[in-house]
């Protein structure tokens, strides 16, 4: 039971780092970026390449993954995404699905279709025994790392000048513009930062979930669930949603109730059903504030 909670927590933390960028950019520009997972995948593969080809440790992979995907995000935002902000949602969806397809096939071409095997650094290999519970060191590291990151994000958002501008822009971009806040720049920076975080999450998670070219498609739904449940107006919403999702997902894989003589994995159902129900009864998200519009 504790192991499930622990694994779920690690998984949920990862999901949060992966999805938080998407949640903020969605709330800010109302732009549906289904290609967010492609950035996460890019980060994961960057880390993999650094470890396998250059023999560097994962600790080096993390910052590089962050920087490279953030730069890629900034570049794509300025050249391509910016043209689509005032287009209908449908075109945004098509455009970003197109990007997903390209990234899937592109990674397949360069890296092969099989899942990548990632070795965690020696220092984080193995388990720690606390009492009679044995905890995986790497997962512990992930939890600690993501927790620090989350606190930093929350502080940055609530205490810094950039943070308050960002919050103002998310609340009402037009009024924020009227007050002289440069929403376009804020958005570009946020987009780059969010993409970088996704890349970081991808690198961090490459040792936990299997990393293969189908990653953006597989995780698209998880990101959407996080946003659906967490809402797009805060980052605490997506945080709790991620933890919930992580624990539910891991628990769903552990418990297989016996229904009518068939062992049934409930994981998938629970998550999708939660999402649909939340969307129906609380369209602004379980933790989100209702918007005045």
């Amino acid at each position: 039971m504790l192991t499930v909670l622990f694994d779920g927590l690690a998984y949920g933390m990862l999901l949060f780092v992966l999805a938080v960028g998407l949640s903020v950019t969605l709330g800010l520009m109302n732009f549906i970026n289904l290609a967010h997972g492609a950035f996460a995948m890019a980060g994961g593969y960057i880390a993999v390449v650094m470890m396998q080809r250059f023999g560097l440790s994962l600790f080096w992979g993390l910052p590089v993954a962050f920087l490279v995907t953030a730069a890629a995000g900034a570049f794509l935002e300025r050249t391509l995404y910016v043209r689509l902000y005032d287009k209908p949602h449908l075109e945004q969806v098509m455009f970003t699905i197109g990007l997903v397809f390209m990234s899937v096939a592109g990674v397949d071409y360069f890296m092969g279709a099989s899942p990548q095997i990632v070795n965690v650094p020696d220092a984080l290999d193995g388990n720690i025994d606390i009492g009679d519970v044995s905890l995986n060191k790497y997962r512990l590291f992930v939890i600690a790392f993501c927790a620090i990151l989350t606190i930093a994000l929350q502080l940055g958002l609530s205490k810094t000048r950039f943070g308050s501008r960002l919050r103002a822009a998310v609340d009402d971009a037009r009024v924020a513009r009227g007050l002289g806040i440069n929403v376009t720049t804020i958005f570009a920076l946020t987009f780059a930062f969010g993409s970088g975080l996704a890349g970081l999450g991808g690198a961090l998670g490459s040792a936990i979930f299997s990393l293969d070219p189908q990653f953006p498609l597989k995780f698209m739904i998880y990101f959407l669930v996080v946003i659906a449940v967490g809402g797009t107006t805060t980052i605490t919403g997506p945080f709790f949603a991620s933890i919930l999702l992580g624990v539910a997902d891991v628990a769903g894989k552990y418990y297989t109730p016996n229904i009518g003589g068939h062992k049934i994995q409930i994981g998938g159902f629970v998550i999708y059903t939660i999402m649909v129900l939340v969307l129906i009864f609380r369209p602004q998200g379980l933790f989100g504030r209702a918007q005045g519009k």
């Binding site: 949602h89 197109g98 397809f101 899937v104 998938g268």
Partner: protein, 344 residues
Amino acid sequence: MIDTAIHATKGGESRAMAYFAERAKWRWPEFALWIGAFALAFLFPSRALLFNEVAILALFALSLDIVLGYAGIVSLGHGAFFGLGAYVAGLLAKAGAGAGLFSDPTFGLLISGIACAVVGYITSFLVLRGADLTRLMVTLGVALIFAELANRMAWLTGGADGLQGVMPGKILGIFEFDLYGRNAYLYSLTTLFLLFIVARKVINSPFGVSLRAIKGNALRAGAVGINVNRRLNGAYTIGAAYAGVAGALLAQTTAFVSLDVLDFHRSADVMLIVIFGGVGTLYGAIVGAAAFKMLYDLLAAATPQYWQFWLGLILVLLVLFVRGGVMGLVGGLYNRLTGKGGAA
């Protein structure tokens, strides 16, 4: 009713009638297209299996065009109905084992259509609750639930191995599905043609015009007395039924159903087809399906593993540079040829 607005004056009534009559008129390129489509079965009998896939894809795209192009509901999970229809028809044909009512293909189509209409009607209430983004996620969520169900209920659906032993009977009790797929193609094409006529009638009816009004501005449409949500429920239900029939056609003509019918790529492909062909044009679905299938064959032959890349590139370029899809281009050309101004 939209009629009340138009019927305000007596002259208005006849003008409205004239308007609907004008909208519903068949034009010569339409005849040419359908005659050509039927002729293909006899001109290139060896490619009939490919044509059959195009016809099924076209019907599936047509169903999404009704939902997306006319009702304006962005759906990322339209494949759910395609898959449901395929499984219903497959299971019926399996139960009938090649003879009797259950194996009758037209009966299978009917039941699949009805089943999907029912599910579509129920889920339409969920879908209509939110705005674009919520709809996207709800439709995707519903589709994923269906895919999970089919995967887990292996005792019924065959799970990952697919549904074996689908044996559709003779079409109308006369024509057998032949090995080369000619009868299958004619069967699918006839179904597509009949349903297309129905869709055309629906779109050009007051109901269809009210859908356009809602898509233009739901608030104003409500203000002139259109019951917005009920119209959208209706359109979504029709779209679901059409998708179900398309799925049923696939199950019957290939005598096999696998989890692939519920895969996400189905929903994405069909969306691409509709966008490529032109949203809200009906014919765009057919043109788009043909173009998509040809493109797919070309790309898959040139780069078997990486065709997805080119597909993605086309999507991106399409969104960035082409408005209104192929039908937008064709429509402009047609208007220029016939000397008519304005939009097609």
